[in-house]
């Protein structure tokens, strides 16, 4: 019996010590930070590190081999005079405006149509959600194939209808074709967010408007639209965030050719095709600052919108 005592004591000691650390971690004061530790570790590794890394190499010239040479702000000067980069930036903004506005308009129209209860609504909803959940890359390959000049389904159908075939991937059209693919994939998002919004609107207000003899258009503009505005903001913000980083649809279609190079693609090309890490980092930092600036504003609006919707 005596011989076992030290062993038991040590066990007790270990248990006590572990429970103390556990107690501190779960104490009233520190528990909220304890919960955040894993997330903060992930963020430090995957956000802070890349940020510092790119910031460092944006002042250097480095091609993955040999020593990095310090070049000061030369990369940034080069960037501001880089026609390809500025064009990519302009195109990205253009895609952003086209896609967000089209998705919203189509979404709003369909939401007004589908907000009522109708037979088969589950089937309609199930089918209409499909594009949202299919890999963007696979969809872009699919549409690339559909828009093929000779044997693509779109041109074959046009021909069968007695219309002329269209060269969808010409330099003038390719960017719009990519916009089309993106809109096709994402309009259900706007649609169903707005359907959910329309269905949750209070009925009595609309009843009152009808009794007062307000025209449907007046009701729509003065009641429906303002009440939907938080959700419209959510759509605009989220889509902006995702569209700035459009990459997959380019890979499946033009691969940055025929004047369709967007922001992320040009960074990819510089860093991973030419292995120009220094200049690629400069572009990355620039596009990051731009994104953060746009999104900081957007995020404020989003939080306000979410607060309004709750």
């Amino acid at each position: 019996m005596k011989a076992e005592t030290p062993w038991e004591t040590r066990t007790d000691f270990a248990v006590v010590r572990r429970s103390t650390v556990w107690e501190i971690l779960t104490s009233e004061k520190y528990f909220k930070w304890t919960l955040l530790i894993p997330l903060l570790v992930v963020l430090a590794i995957f956000m802070l590190y890349p940020l510092l890394y790119c910031a460092y190499y944006s002042f250097h010239q480095w091609g993955m081999r040999g020593e990095a040479i310090y070049v000061g702000a030369q990369n940034y000067r080069q960037l501001l005079n880089d026609k390809a980069f500025l064009e990519a930036l302009y195109r990205t903004l253009k895609v952003l405006v086209i896609c967000v506005s089209c998705e919203l308009l189509i979404g709003l129209g369909l939401a007004l149509l589908w907000s009522r209860n109708f037979p088969g609504e589950n089937v309609v909803r199930g089918l209409a959600l499909f594009p949202l959940l299919v890999a963007p890359l696979i969809l872009s390959l699919l549409w690339n194939f559909m828009f093929e000049y000779d044997f693509g389904a779109v041109n074959l159908v046009l021909q069968a209808l007695g219309l002329n075939k269209v060269y969808w991937w010409s330099p003038e059209r390719a960017l719009y074709t990519i916009c089309f693919i993106t809109i096709w994939q994402w309009f259900p998002f706007a649609t169903f967010v707005l359907v959910a919004g329309l269905r949750s609107l209070p009925k009595d207000v609309f009843e009152a408007a009808r009794v007062d003899g307000a025209s449907p258009w007046y009701t729509f503009r003065r009641l429906t639209l303002p009440m939907l505005s938080p959700l419209i903001m959510i759509i605009v913000v989220l889509r902006t965030m995702w569209l700035i980083r459009l990459f997959d649809p380019l890979y499946g279609t033009t691969r940055g050719g025929v004047q369709t190079e967007l922001l992320d693609w040009i960074v990819y090309r510089t860093a991973f095709v030419y292995f120009d890490i220094g200049y690629g980092s400069t572009m990355a930092i620039f596009s990051l600052v731009l994104t953060i600036a746009v999104c900081a504003v957007m995020f404020k609006i989003l939080m306000k919108a979410l607060g309004g919707a709750h």
Binding site: P50, A128, T219, A271, A284
Partner: protein, 283 residues
């Protein structure tokens, strides 16, 4: 004109016809391209490259594309990679995100700044993170490993999952936790026994989104894998080569790869809509 209102009203005959014409048109535009993947997957090469419109629908079906896909390409290996990577990253993401989201929702930890930083990682251009990690992975030998890609998928999903879950945790009344504290529960117990069971629907929604995003992810998968850890999206993209395009195997591969996501969207539509609106609207 009823359409512009709330839509509960009776539809008259003309409105009804108009409604169904538009609905069927939209469904056709959505479903036809997806159906075309499945049609193409069963076409022989000369039917795929046919230039007559009637061959789009009428052709002699064959399973040759699937045979080629399974015989000549490591399709099932890559499919397994996708499954392993998306499931394991989703599990880890759910643990990290639910802890953090609870902290944000209950104590507003970091006074909103931290939450903003978290969500902004999702706005990070993927290529920004890709540059340093490519160099680092090369040095650590993590390129083309499932483990390496899973880590990146965790990073890429964690911020969004946190934000999604934040909305669900926010709905739990604080009084419930106070009552549990009076009953002598510790903070950790409250989280495990009181809060977590209540957000189970939120966790289900988040899990669905993380799985689908990870399943569909392309940029990191494409940059960080070659053969061994290659997910199925990258395999499919490789059929569209600069020298020749293998439409048959591509369609067959796509047909199988998108099947799980189609099933998810069909059977979990309510959950998905709930997630899309961040719980702001109960769809």
């Amino acid at each position: 004109m009823e359409l512009i209102e709330r839509g509960e009203g009776e539809m008259n005959g003309v409105g009804n016809v108009f409604f169904w014409i538009i609905t069927f048109f939209v469904l056709f535009v959505i479903v036809a391209p997806l159906a075309w993947i499945y049609l193409t997957a069963f076409k022989a090469p000369n039917d795929i490259f046919a230039t007559e419109a009637k061959k789009l629908i009428f052709f002699q079906p064959t399973t040759e594309n699937f045979h080629r896909l399974f015989r000549e390409f490591p399709f099932w290996d890559n499919f397994l990679n996708t499954v392993i990577i998306s499931v394991s990253s989703t599990v880890v993401v759910l643990v990290i995100a639910s802890l953090a989201a609870y902290s944000f929702a209950r104590w507003n930890t970091g006074k909103g700044h931290l939450l903003f930083n978290t969500i902004s990682t999702r706005m990070f251009p993927g290529v920004v993170a890709a540059i340093p990690f490519f160099v680092m992975y090369r040095n650590l030998g993590l390129l083309d490993t499932r483990f390496g890609l899973t880590l990146l998928h965790i990073y890429f999903n964690v911020s969004f999952a946190t934000f999604l879950l934040y909305g669900f945790f926010k709905e739990i009344p604080e009084e419930l936790e106070q009552a549990a504290m009076i009953d002598g529960y510790s903070r950790a117990d409250i989280f495990r026994r009181v809060v977590l069971p209540l957000v189970r629907p939120g966790i289900a929604v988040t899990a669905v989104f993380c799985l689908v995003w990870s399943w569909n992810e392309f940029l990191f998968s494409f940059l960080f894998t070659r053969m061994a850890a290659r997910p199925v999206t990258v395999l499919i993209s490789s059929f569209w080569g600069s020298i020749e395009v293998q439409y048959g195997p591509m369609a067959a591969g796509a047909a199988i790869a998108i099947l799980p996501t189609l099933l998810v969207s069909w059977f979990m539509q309510r959950y998905i809509i709930r997630g899309l609106t961040f719980g702001a609207v109960k769809g």
